[in-house]
Symmetry: C2
Subunit: 118 residues, 2 copies
DNA sequence: CCATGATACCTCGAACTGCAAGGTATAGAA
DNA sequence: TTCTATACCTTGCAGTTCGAGGTATCATGG
C-alpha cells in the first residue's frame, strides 16, 4: 500500500496479476507457480523464475502475501498465501487489466471513430 | 525484420499495434494519432508523442508504412499509410494480442486447474 | 505588435519491466 | 557417481515506454 505508485506504464504488472490470482485460489510455492502459469496458458504466457521470485518477494514485502515453510519429501518449499491487502491489490489489478483489454479490443474491432449506435 | 521467434517480452508492442490499426483504417499524422488513441480509449491508453513518433519512424524504416507530406492550413503534416508488409505485421500482432488476452482472461475467470471440457 | 496557446514535428536521457543465465542445494534414478 | 528434476535465489542485459525538452507555424487577444 504505502509502496509505490511510481509507474504509470499501462502495460505492466501482468505477472503480478497472474501470481496473485493463482495464490488466491490455492496456496502455492514459487517453482510451482512458474509451471502453473505455463501450463494453464498453454505456454502463451511463460514467465521464468527470474520473474516470479522477485515478484513474490516484493509482494510479501508489501504485505500482499504471507509465506510459510513446509518440507515435503525432504524438499523445503515456501508456500505463499494472499492477505486481505493482497486481495484488494488483486481486485485493482484485475479491473485495470479488464479496462485495458476492453479498450484495446474496441480499437481492434471497432469501426472508424465514435461509432453511432443507431 | 524478418527474423523473430526470440522470446521477446510478451507484453510489449501495444503502441505499435494500435498505431497500425488506426492507420489501416485511415491515413493519419503523428499528432493526430496521439489524440485519436487517447480519445478512442477514453484515456485508458494514453501514449505520448515520445512514443508515437519513434514508432512511426521505425515502422517506416521497416517498410510497414509509407509517408507523404501534405500542407493543410499552412501546417505541414506527415501522413502515414500502411503498406502490404505493414498489413501483415498488423495481422500478426493482432493475433498475438488476441491469444494473450484470451489466455489471461481464462486465468482470471477460470476455476482451479485444467478442467476437462467434456 | 507581442504574448499565449494550439498545432505539428522531433530527440534525448531516465526508468522500468521482464528475461536469460548463472549459482546453490537436495533427492532420486541410472 | 553422474545426471535429472526439484527448489530456491540474484545479477546484468536488453528492449520499451515515459517525461521533459526543443523547434516552428498559425490564430487569437490584449
Amino acid at each position: 500500500m504505502a509502496g509505490r505508485e511510481t509507474n504509470p506504464n499501462f502495460m505492466n504488472g501482468v505477472p503480478e496479476l497472474l501470481i496473485l490470482r493463482l495464490l488466491q485460489q490455492e496456496e502455492m510455492y514459487g517453482y510451482e507457480i512458474v509451471q502453473a502459469i505455463r501450463s494453464r496458458t498453454d505456454a502463451v504466457v511463460a514467465v521464468g523464475e527470474g520473474v516470479v521470485y522477485p515478484v513474490l518477494h516484493a509482494l510479501e514485502h508489501d504485505g500482499a502475501l504471507t509465506s510459510r515453510r513446509k518440507t515435503v519429501n525432504g524438499r523445503s518449499r515456501i508456500y505463499y498465501s494472499v492477505t486481505p491487502a493482497g486481495s484488494r491489490r488483486l481486485s485493482e489489478l484485475s479491473e485495470t487489466w479488464a479496462n485495458l483489454a476492453s479498450a484495446i479490443h474496441k480499437m481492434l474491432t471497432g469501426g472508424q471513430h465514435g461509432e453511432a449506435i443507431s
